[in-house]
Amino acid sequence: MIQALIDGILLGGVYGVIATGLSLVFGVLGVVNFAQAEFLMLGMYVAWFAWHYFGLDPLLGSVLSFVIVFGLGYVVQRTLISQVLKAPPSAQVFLTVGLMMAIENGALMLFGSDFRSVNVPYQMAGFRVMGLFVSAPYFYAFIAAVVLSILLWLFLERTWTGRAIRAVAQDAMAATLNGVDTNRTYGIAFGLGVALTAFGGAVILPYITVSPTVGQQFVVLMFTVVVLGGLGSVTGALVGGVVVGIVQSVSALFFPIQLQNFFLFIIFIAVLALRPQGLIKGA
């Protein structure tokens, strides 16, 4: 049981970073990005190629994923998403759903449908701490996620751009009046959001194989995490991630593995129905 809790926390920390990206995009742009999980897939591919051709460990390759996907996200926002920012939700939903299909199948065309995985020396390793087993790849991914979360927090709190992002999220008009270039800020926020998710994808590469359809496994998971924490809340997403990680690994103790996601969906619908504003934020 305690073992399952530890596994859940290690897994959940990474879910947190993945979902933080989605939450950031919604919080700042007000758009639910259904294509978010595809950027996770792209992040995984970048890290895989970095490993395959340059022998770069995915934990370092994740930085490359972050940078490349950030650039891609910035362009996608400025060219496509910016056009529907003021459109009704249906237009936003279908724009990002279309993007999801295009990216997923674009990857299928470019990379083929094979599953690819990396070989790293610590893949099967682990530590024993007080009789409990801590798997090394999960542990390293968790540490990377924590480090990135701290950096994100510093960025949002301490830098001018970070403050601009928060300002735009609160009131875009007021931010403009105070000299913030909102369009550029939207682009940066979207790029940052998808880059966080891509980073999360890269650090889990040592224990999850990548294929063009890997994003599908994460769509509902990501939304569950974000909704648990409150759409738009960055800290909420981190906490939600840990909760979901624990639910997954503990439910696996009692129920067959196929039903793992079933419980997530139930939680997801229940939270949406009872507290759509998330569990953390006050009413």
């Binding site: 919604f26 639910v32 496509l80 056009q83 529907v84 459109a87 009704p88 939700p89 249906s90 237009a91 936003q92 939903v93 279908f94 724009l95 759903v97 279309g98 993007l99 999801m100 299909m101 295009a102 990216i103 997923e104 199948n105 674009g106 990857a107 299928l108 065309m109 083929g112 449908s113 063009p212 599908q216 769509v219 509902v220 939304f223 569950t224 909704v227 759409l231 067959p256 196929q258 039903l259 996601n261 079933f262 969906f265 139930i266 997801f268 619908i269 229940a270 949406l272 129905a273 009872l274 759509p276």
Partner: protein, 331 residues
Amino acid sequence: MRNLLTPGRIAIVLFFVVAALLPFFVDARGHLLRVAAMVLLFAAVAQSWNIVGGLANQISLGHAAFFGIGAYTSTLLYLNLGITPWLGMFAGGVLAMVAAALLSLPTFRLKGHYFALATLAFAEVMRVIANSWAGLTGGPVGLTVPFAGSQPWLFAFRSVASYYWIILALLLAICLVFHLMATGAIGYRLRAVRENEQAAEVAGVDTFRVKLIASMVSAGLTAVCGTVFAQFTFFFDPDSIFSLSGISVRMAMIAIIGGLGTLGGPIVGALFLIPLEEYANAQLSSQIAGLSQFVFGVILVAAILIQPRGLMAFWPKRNATSTTQPSGDKE
């Protein structure tokens, strides 16, 4: 009273007449007729979706759940109890309505993104259940509808034309339901809810009841389409029938590309998309996997950016269903 012979009505009637005569002019067992039948079937599904997505503007991304319920109910009743799919079709419809009612309880207050997310999760739940409850559903292997020659009583025919006409009749029936709902009192209430839910509530519209009726009707009709789909294709599995991009998004996309909330929209959308997809699959898939779906995604993005109101927006006449007074419905 509106004129009975508006250009829009003439176009719709003309469409159905041409569609009904089509099997006499093409090879009755040929591929072309199968594609035409798929066009009609997806027009019918999209029209069912249009009742919730278009009239009430509740964007559902989980209608595959009802589609799958229809396919599974009729097929399982037939395989296990020998009940003809003609009856199973209605059993599936009723079951889907019950499911829609249950889903309405936690989701009726949700709007926009939240509603889309909740419905998406619901379809995923159905997919997971169908995959893991192998004792009932056959699990990931899927179900095959056994074919034993032409048995009209068991919804089995040798000629594609028979299926084609049944699907055409179904489309006609669903279009009538849509038209009646759009122009009837419930249509006014739904549009009132769509424009401003609180104002509608204050004006005396029971918003929960109105939305519940719309989603139940929509779900029931979608399930009937699911049964017909199962009989027509003979085979389905959980991942294809509960698929997000294959079913849920596709039916919404057809309605949106054609014109959300309009009677002709789903027909125009299906006439445009399904042959295009068929062509792309036939021409391109052999070369590069994923290309047709990629094109699909790109079209969706382009459609939203170029004309979010869909192809029907290019129709010269101002559209009757969307320009009638939006609310102010009193009893």
